[in-house]
């Protein structure tokens, strides 16, 4: 591990002033510090942003929420307004990591966590994401965790976050500030596809700081849920996961949101399935047809083919559960 300078920013403006010249923002550090130790990345300076504010959850008019980038995962998961209006987000948060890690990890940091691909984390192996142009070791190596959607020989890694799958499904908006001013980026457009160049995960520019994540309101009566499939019961990344929100009126689907985790270089929005669902009946056959429409575009490899049936069964079970919940209320 290379020596670095540790600095503590006092507010947002100070944090931006300290950016550049090899500086890296440090929030919860649950991923970054590991990477510094492993040599996956280095930093000249770590700018600690955990004391610049941005640590509150604000209820927006109309039922939305504005979540500060430095709200800890455990605090956000416990927030009454989130639990009431966005159970899918609370469930996704609680499905991630461990209690100790959730106490450290922040909302903004979660958005920027890097893949857990074993080759990305091993500096003695080629990895284009870590070392641009060096190739993808997972193509011919350990491939059980590889992507099945939007696959590219440039990089087979999957995005590790649970939270982001829910945020993508809900059309959350990321608010940032930086050298070029403030901007708003839909979660669905924050991340790059492997084909776009896996060296960089997001479309953020150097020195840009996430300040908030906005959750737009869901229509009244919408049910939402997150389900994560993993072999170990806790502290494991998703084999696959499903974030879903379903608005059913009179037995027909008025709105559907579906995000898949553990299957793609970015948190995956299942738009084909959503299109098939909306306007149709809320029954098992329609759900199966919709999920199959999405899965027709899956491209599993030799070691990760099981992701397809597991994802299918999980998505169907989540949709059926939401429809059932809605029908009973």
């Amino acid at each position: 591990m290379r020596p670095f300078v540790y600095e503590r920013a006092t507010d947002v403006a100070d944090a931006l002033d300290r950016a550049g010249d090899g500086a890296v923002f440090l929030a919860g550090g649950t991923n970054l510090v590991d990477h510094l130790r492993l040599g996956v990345r280095s930093a000249e300076r770590l700018v600690d942003i955990t004391r610049i504010g941005l640590d509150e959850v604000e209820e927006l008019p109309g039922g939305g929420l504005r979540v500060g980038a430095l709200v800890r995962n455990s605090d956000l998961a416990a927030h009454p307004a989130l639990r009431r209006g966005f159970p899918v987000v609370a469930q996704a948060l609680l499905a991630g990591a461990s209690g100790q890690l959730r106490n450290m990890a922040t909302t903004g940091g979660n958005l920027l966590q890097r893949t857990r691909c074993v080759y990305f984390q091993d500096v003695t192996m080629p990895c284009t994401k870590r070392d641009p142009g060096s190739g993808c070791s997972a193509l011919e190596g350990y491939a059980a965790g590889n992507a099945i959607f939007e696959t590219s020989p440039r990089c087979m890694a999957v995005h590790p976050s649970d939270l982001c799958v829910a945020l993508v499904a809900l059309d959350a908006v990321v608010r940032t500030t930086g050298p070029a001013g403030d901007r708003e980026i839909p979660m669905t457009e924050l991340y790059r596809r492997a084909e776009d160049g896996p060296e960089t995960d997001t479309h953020l520019v150097p020195g840009e700081l996430i300040t908030h994540v906005d959750l737009p309101p869901l229509a009244p009566g919408t049910r939402s849920a997150y389900r994560k499939v993993r072999e170990r019961a806790s502290y494991a990344f998703a084999l696959v996961s499903v974030a879903a929100a379903l608005d059913v009126v009179d037995g027909r689907v008025r709105d559907a949101r579906l995000g898949f985790g553990g299957v793609c270089h970015r948190p995956f929005r299942a738009r084909r399935a959503e299109e098939a669902l909306v306007g149709g009946p809320a029954d098992a056959a329609a759900f199966a047809a919709a999920i199959d429409a999405e899965l027709a575009h899956a491209r599993p490899g030799r070691d990760n083919a099981a992701k397809v049936p597991i994802l299918r069964n999980t998505a169907l079970a989540v949709l059926a559960g939401l429809a059932d919940e809605g029908a009973r209320s």
Binding site: Y142, E231, R232, A233, S234, A284, A306, I310, A327
Partner: protein, 724 residues
Amino acid sequence: MSEPTGPTLLDPVQMGRPVGRLDGRRKVLGVAPYAVEHEAEGAAQAAMVASTVPRGRVRSIDATAARALPGVLAVLDHTNAPRVADGEDREFAPLQDDTVWFRRQPVALVVAESSEVAREAAALVAVEYDEEPAEVGLRPDSPRLYTPEKLSDGSESDTSAGDVEAALAAATHVVDETYATPYEHNNPMEPHATIATWHGEDAGLGDGPVLTLVDSTQGVHAVRSSLAPVLGIEPERLEVVAPYVGGGFGSKGAPHVNVVLAALAAKALAPRPVRLTVTRQQMFALVGYRTATIQHFRLGADADGRLTAISHDVLEQSAAIKEFVEQTGSPTRSMYAAPNRRTTHRVARLDVAIPFWMRAPGEMPGMFAHEVAMDELAHRCGLDPIELRVRNEPDVDPETGHPFGRRRLLECLRRGAERFGWEEGPRAPLSRREGDWLVGTGVASSTYPANAMPGNEATVTFEHGCYAVGIGAADIGTGSWTSLTQVTADALGVGLEQIRLGIGDTRYPSASVAGGSSGLSSWGIAITAAARAFREQHGDRPSEGASATAGMPDNPDLQEYALNSYGAHFAKVRVHADTGQIRVPRMLGVFSVGRAVNPTTLRSQFLGGMVMGLSAALFEESVRDPRFGHVVTQDLASYHVAANADVADLDAIWLDDDVETHLNPMGSRGAGEIGIVGSPAAIVNAVFDATGVRVRDLPVTADKLLAGLLPQRERDHVLGDASA
């Protein structure tokens, strides 16, 4: 032939009591130092540079950039490292030549003022190789397969009795299946670590220690006897210290290359101490692991389910650099009665890291195959799996013909069936469902040999009204500090407060390793002998400074009896019909291991073994890169061991009035390993009961179950009205 005269048993007064850990307070306060935490004034820090090719030669090493880093003290490689005196064991001859035997073999060592600088400098050492073709995968058609001379337990590679092929051909019921177990890594919580201080030949008027190793080890004398010749030091002048050890599971049962590297670095930097800590990632390459196995298991039985043939053919791997042969088929030789029997082992020495002991080496993978095969046979015979085992209980050891000391397997099975609520009769797979979960139960037998290792000696000295007892034993978290104090108190006929135990240091008399579930037995034999010698020589009112030392008396019973522990595992599993996820809501183990010297620490050993069995059944797998042979799941985020949430209702009990009369004066048999033997099979058998899907390769994961589960679930989705 005279009647064997076994050990004279101690009267249990302190033994049998659930005495809390005597070192518990020190552990909780954080003042019980683990190896790396020992004081070492001015210690330098070492970091290893690992090869990046699986086989070949080091062409060049450029350490210019590393040496230029402020704080770097030395960079050692095969051109400049101190020479070993005896390099025959290649594991103990690092940096002696340019040969690369496996990927991640150490090819250089950086010593620096801090561990951060040492690691950074290690990353800057540029090594070039002349790479050679490597073979890194265990394949049934590997040209490297051979028949080993001996297995690691000293037994024959192949055994045969009767005519297995004829018996199988004539059998009414046959199981003929192949089972597989994966590579697994021990992963004790405390990584391997050493502080080495080279005092030199002139130390202490020429008779002090030449080298001191503060090491994380399961046996200080094992480190001494292994490394003294390697380093060219008289054994008594190699000092090894390990008072507290944070687990080993076999991986610290002998020194590994890291200890030699620490010693060589200390010699190069003498008299400055050198601290070398193995990182979690390096533990997946340098400190041993369980080989994968491919096991062809065949059972033949008559119409009543009585075994006529048992055949166990094992394929496994070892390392090109050093042979280690797992005794996978050993337990099969003594488990059940059958007139026709055979076991074979074939091993491929691959261009990979060196396998070694991991909790119940041999018994764990071998009994997994055997006990799943028995479950398959019970299913084919239409018998309750317990009844099948009852029908095949041997009268004498099928391998040697010796009488069993006391074989209480059937009592374990029956007691467990009662406590677990086992439903008698043949299994009916796919018959229980709770919501989306398929539910099943399974059973398996367990066994582990009762071992007592030679070469133990203890000393008892009367000091300040207390008895100071010394033996170079180890407490690797098992509770030896406590249980040995209890044994000593009973051996001397005094209370615990009068005992001052000393272990974990070569200044005490020689002791065997904490391994093979033999520690308490072996050390207790010597301690009891020393205590009895003390009383004989000094009586009940000894004078200050009175002392006695004794080794292990002969025990003719060891030649006359087959001495084994037995157990029965019961498991309940739930398998999710949608995802194939498996949960284990209940496990019960019932054991016969002789006397419980300390019920608290005994139960802890059983539970720990069972959790490790659960972990092996469902999670643990070291995934090897198919091209380079190194482990890619090299941390605890990608190498999954059971988490708290995976362990639910876990219970371990043992039989009453269980006293082993042939092995040692305590009446105990050892318990460190039996909990992991058979428990994976019980879970796999329960998964079959739940789903009707028979998985024969560990770990059982969702993808292996789904193919069997899918057709059923497909019907549910099409026929069921999920939205109703």
